[in-house]
Symmetry: C2
Subunit: 134 residues, 2 copies
């Protein structure tokens, strides 16, 4: 995982607005990482880990997500090859979402992170109390 980039060496006075683009170009994995670790991306991957879901079913499973963000998140994950979208030409429409093999790997990793966070939660809350009372 390359975090740093030799920006200064090649473009000392480069327009700062372009840094995002530059680092994306030099470290394209950042973009993918942000997709799978994005607010709703994480929760969608975790939800799909157990089974396939339909759109509104998934919307209920991931509490708090708006239609817009769910659609957007699913499109991003589908484009990256993590989610398989199957639209059935029936009335009323039925679309099933599931994980691809690649998506399962991603979901397992973020799922592991999720489980670890739950286990670490007491320690985190204790650390916060210690930090705040100071």
């Amino acid at each position: 995982m390359k975090v740093s980039t030799p920006l200064e060496a090649t473009a000392p006075a480069a327009p700062l607005a372009a840094i995002g683009d530059v680092t994306d170009r030099m470290c394209p994995s950042r973009g993918v990482l942000e997709h799978v670790t994005s607010r709703w991306g994480v929760l969608v991957l975790i939800a799909l880990r157990e089974r396939g879901y339909r759109f509104s079913e998934l919307r209920r499973a991931v509490a708090g997500v708006s239609e817009k963000m769910l659609a957007q998140t699913l499109q991003t994950l589908e484009r990256d090859g993590f989610v398989l979208r199957e639209a059935h030409p029936v009335i009323p429409p039925r679309v099933d979402y599931s994980l691809t093999p690649l998506g399962e790997q991603a979901a397992d990793l973020v799922g592991g992170l999720g489980r670890w966070v739950e286990r670490a939660l007491p320690a985190v809350e204790a650390a916060r109390r210690a930090y705040d009372s100071r």
Copy 2:
């Protein structure tokens, strides 16, 4: 990892602006998860995985981060008990940042995610090409 919450059952007409608060209250791990998976949080954890860093050293290591966001990210991670901050009372000031044992665990997990993303990158790019040419 609890993703869904029985929102509808208890508060069918609850003010939507409060959903974030409600889910945070019902699923406090979401907040912690968002801290460690946040844009700069991920990169800071990965950078600190190899060794301790001073502030501006870290700023160079994590290319593209602003002073403000780095300070904010470090404070959040410190409060959650992931990062240890050691300020030395010398002139010029010197502050060292490193991972706590808890932070090392978090960093290992996100680091694993990072390495996986790098390995998966070719597959992702292939998936994107397939998706776009359609």
